[in-house]
Each structure stands twice: as structure tokens, then as C-alpha cells.
Symmetry: C2
Subunit: 298 residues, 2 copies
């Protein structure tokens, strides 16, 4: 039983699939399989029931899960506590983030950064990517987590002239109510969506801008009947059967979307891309570097 096994265990419990969990934890599928097996041998208990279709926690696995989470959280807290005694940072850091960042959990990093550097005055703003980038160009934000797609042409979403790094990419998917006529299919073509009623965020958010662009570019009319301000409200309205929505794949994996149907989109071209953009100001650059350092590694 070690921390690496706990990471694998948590990822597998959350993804319910070896292949996806292996991608997230960045090992080969066989490596993940072997690690889980060795954990099960160690604990002398089966943790997952496997079929080729689904992987599910056993009672023993359910019992272990919260402890595994605590273990990982405690390990991070330990790292942070040590870093807090060594690191000598001061000043202020202004962070901004989009909604729908999927696999990139910015609030968690804000918390960890704050634990490490209590002297740094950190501020956090959730806003649309266009808005964030404008503020960054105006010098009002030091670090922005924004999203877009590979084919975005909207000038407000371009990262030209800014230092930035790509953090994650994932496909866009269609989210429908379970009783939707399309729900029996596994995938759908853009063209087949023109008669549907859509739910979407308002146009301050990147997912709306990007989706509008995609339909416009393909000259497909789209009817957005319901406009909401946050992604949970969006999923809630799909649950109520009011329409469908285009979202990044990670949204479809949230528990609130468990009952919904996820359809992949033919031509996977426009890929949802999450990036961090940062001003290379003298004042904040070492802080942004430290912040970004808390993201993936370890």
C-alpha cells in the first residue's frame, strides 16, 4: 500500500475504466492493472468487480475509497507544510479562471498555493476567457486559465502575444436527456443537430463562443432556447429534459450528469483546449511559475 497505488485506485474508482484511469494517471493500462492487482493482493481483498464493460467498486473498495482520498490530501498537505517553511515568496498574485476547465482544478491549486505562501495576497476571479484575456492584456490579472478550441478564430480568445502553456485537451461531446431520440446512438454528426433545442451558457463564456463559432462555420442554424450562467444549471436543465448541450467531455463525467447520455461528435476536429496564460511581469513571474508548478507534477 503506497501513495502511488492510492492515486491509481482513486482514479480507477472515479473513472470506472482502466483505460481512462491509465490515461489520467499517465501509466500504461497494463501497469495500472498490475498496480491494482498488487494492491488487492496486499489488502487480501478484491477492490473492483471487473467486466469488460464496466469496472465497479466492491464493498471493500468503497470502504477504502475515503481513506485513499484522505491519504492523497494529507500527502499534499505535508508537501505544502514543508514548502511553507522553505519558500520565501511575497507580494500579490491575481488569478482568473473560466468555467468548464474539466480536468484542471484551479480552486484546489489556489488552496494549496495559499497554504504554502500565506504572505502572498492571492485573489481569484471566475470569468469568461475573453474577459480574462482582456484583463490580462490590461495588466489587471497575472495568470489566467482559459479555454478555446483548435479552430477558434474569435480575436478575443486568441493567445497571440501572451506567454501560455497548454494544460489539457479533450473532445467536445453532446449531452442529452436519457429519453432523447438520439440517446440510443453513440455518436452524432453536426448536421443532425440543427433541429434541436439547445441549452448553453451566455456568451461571456468560452464554451458558448466556441460552440456558436462551430455551428456558424458549418452554416448550421442552432436554436439556443435556454441561456444560463453556470454549468451546473446547464446540466440541471438537461436533466429536466429541456434540451441538449455541447460540453467538454469532462463535464459529462461529473456525477450530476450521471443519468444523461453522452454522444461523441463526428469529426473530432474542434478539440477543447485548456491553457494557462500569464504575463511575464517582473513582479509576478516567479509566483505564476510556483502556481503552475502545483498543477500536474507529483
Amino acid at each position: 500500500m503506497d501513495l502511488r497505488q492510492m492515486e491509481y485506485f482513486v482514479a480507477l474508482a472515479e473513472e470506472n475504466q482502466f483505460t481512462r484511469a491509465a490515461e489520467i494517471t499517465r501509466v500504461s493500462q497494463s501497469g495500472l492493472s498490475a498496480a491494482i492487482k498488487s494492491l488487492e493482493d496486499d489488502l487480501k481483498a478484491k477492490l473492483f468487480i471487473r467486466t469488460t464493460r464496466r469496472v465497479e467498486l466492491t464493498a471493500a473498495g468503497h470502504a477504502l475509497f475515503p481513506h485513499a482520498r484522505n491519504l492523497l490530501a494529507e500527502a499534499n498537505a505535508g508537501r505544502d507544510a514543508v514548502a511553507a517553511t522553505t519558500a520565501e515568496f511575497a507580494g500579490a498574485l491575481r488569478v482568473g479562471a473560466e468555467q468548464c476547465l474539466g480536468s484542471v482544478n484551479v480552486p484546489e491549486i489556489v488552496e494549496r498555493f495559499h497554504r504554502r505562501h500565506r504572505e502572498v495576497e492571492i485573489t481569484f476571479t471566475q470569468a469568461g476567457s475573453g474577459d480574462l484575456l482582456k484583463r490580462m492584456r490590461g495588466g489587471d490579472i497575472d495568470l489566467a486559465f482559459v479555454a478555446g478550441t483548435s479552430e477558434t478564430t474569435d480575436p478575443q480568445l486568441r493567445l497571440t502575444g501572451l506567454d501560455h502553456v497548454t494544460l489539457a485537451t479533450e473532445p467536445l461531446v453532446l449531452l442529452t436527456p436519457p429519453e432523447d431520440p438520439l440517446a440510443s446512438q453513440k455518436s452524432v454528426a453536426w448536421n443532425d443537430l440543427q433541429d434541436r433545442t439547445f441549452i448553453d451558457l451566455d456568451s461571456t463564456w468560452a464554451i458558448r463562443v466556441v460552440t456558436d463559432e462551430i455551428f456558424a462555420k458549418r452554416r448550421i442554424p442552432r436554436r439556443v432556447a435556454f441561456t444560463v450562467g453556470d454549468i451546473h444549471a446547464l446540466v440541471d436543465m438537461i436533466n429536466r429534459g429541456l434540451g441538449v448541450a455541447i460540453v467538454p467531455q469532462s463535464v459529462s463525467r461529473k456525477t450530476i450528469a450521471a443519468d444523461l447520455q453522452t454522444l461523441s461528435l463526428e469529426q473530432r476536429d474542434p478539440v477543447w483546449t485548456v491553457s494557462a496564460a500569464y504575463a511575464h511581469s517582473e513582479r509576478a513571474s516567479h509566483l505564476t511559475t510556483e502556481f503552475l508548478g502545483l498543477l500536474e507534477p507529483r
Copy 2:
């Protein structure tokens, strides 16, 4: 950063010495040294200040310590939670333990056993070894953690006829107040103790029986002026300068004894030995096996 490193780290932080911590964690001294070094490299912070005389936590080490403890506790809790779902134990287990068991922490195991097997009615009795063994022979206890020395002849403390396993051995030492005339020495001969005033437990406890035996066998008179019922009271009275005491080495390492002087005894022959004795009754044997399994391994 892994759980093995945390074990090593905690052991070293508690022992303040590589050699002793390595014995406790059962690795070579060099292995421990390398593991701590790799942990420090990983966290990019020195955790200990080393001199050849003493090893002390740095600020970073102090920051990590509680998290390391939590990590180990959480790992055990995880193991227990899993075991609780698999194991099928029921019935009752009656455990007894001496005071002064040193490295063997019975209450902790009682707790873990209880977490694993809530259906088992566990009872715990703290009492002297002689008493416990009598009760065991009478069938009133299933498992007893007792102590004695290699040269014990007292029939009440003999384990003959009982299944038992040796759990730990350690030397006996002399504990004196810091201002004691002997305090400058590193060791002392039994013969030089005949004029001293002793503090000791009452004769229901093994440490008293054993010490009396040692002095009697060597025909050295001993004056026990203060008789107490528990080991903390004993150490407290030494702290007050009222006398000296023979105790197992592990007692001298407790924090309450931090200000006291520890002298090793010439001729290390009588070695303090902690054993677990158990009836091999049909009813309880699998429970005692499970209980003992929680001791050292993993």
C-alpha cells in the same frame, strides 16, 4: 514521498538517532540514511539537522511531522476498513496486558482490532503478568501480553505449558534524577546500587518481581522506599529526586523521562522480554491469530 519514507521519517523524528530508528523500522542504517536523503531531495528541504551526537528536526521537519503521522494513521484506517468488509469474525476476545511493554503498543492494536471486527466483543484488562497468566490458565483470558527476563525463575511468570511468542527484548537500565551522583557515569554495576533509595511498582507488576529477583540472586540488599501503582507515577517521583529505578530501556525514552539520566547496567544478562501468551482454545484461536497479526507486519 511514499508511506515507507513516512515510517522512516516518523521513527527518526521520534528516536533522534539513525541507528535506533533503523532498528525499529528494520532496515539497515545506510538504507534509512538513503531513504531520508531521497525524501529530502523530493521535498527539496532539509528535514533533520545531523550531528554525530544528535539528530533533530528542522522547521521543515516539524511542519511535516503531524502530516506524516496522519498519513500512517490513515493508511492503517484504510487497511482496517477494508478488512472490516471482508473478515468474518465473531465471538469474544479477552485480552490482558502488563504495564511497561515498551515497544509493544497494545491499546493501539485493541483499537485497530475493534475497527476491523466490530462484531467481536473485545475486553481489555491491564494487570500484572503473574495475575494475567493465572487468569489465562484458569481460562478467563484468551491472550496476554506479559513481560519477564531471561533469568526469571518465579513460577508465576513462567510460560511453560502455554503457547507463546516473543515480541521484543530490550535491556534494563537505571533511571536517575539529573543531579544524582551517578549521573555522570554511563553505566553502573549492580553492586554499586546497594545503598540507593529505589522507587518501584508494587509486586503485582513484573518489573518489580523481576528486579527483586535480580537483587536477591546477587545477594544485594535493596531499599524500596516508594511503591507506586503505575509507571508514570514512578517516573514522576524520580523527576522529583526521590530515588532511582530499574526500568526497561524503552521507558527511559518516553518524553516524561526526558530530563532524567539513563545508565546502562553492567552485565546485560537479564534481558527484559515481552511475550504474547495465548490459550489455544477452539473458540478464540483464530481471533488471537488475527490480533497478533496486527502487531508488526505491514
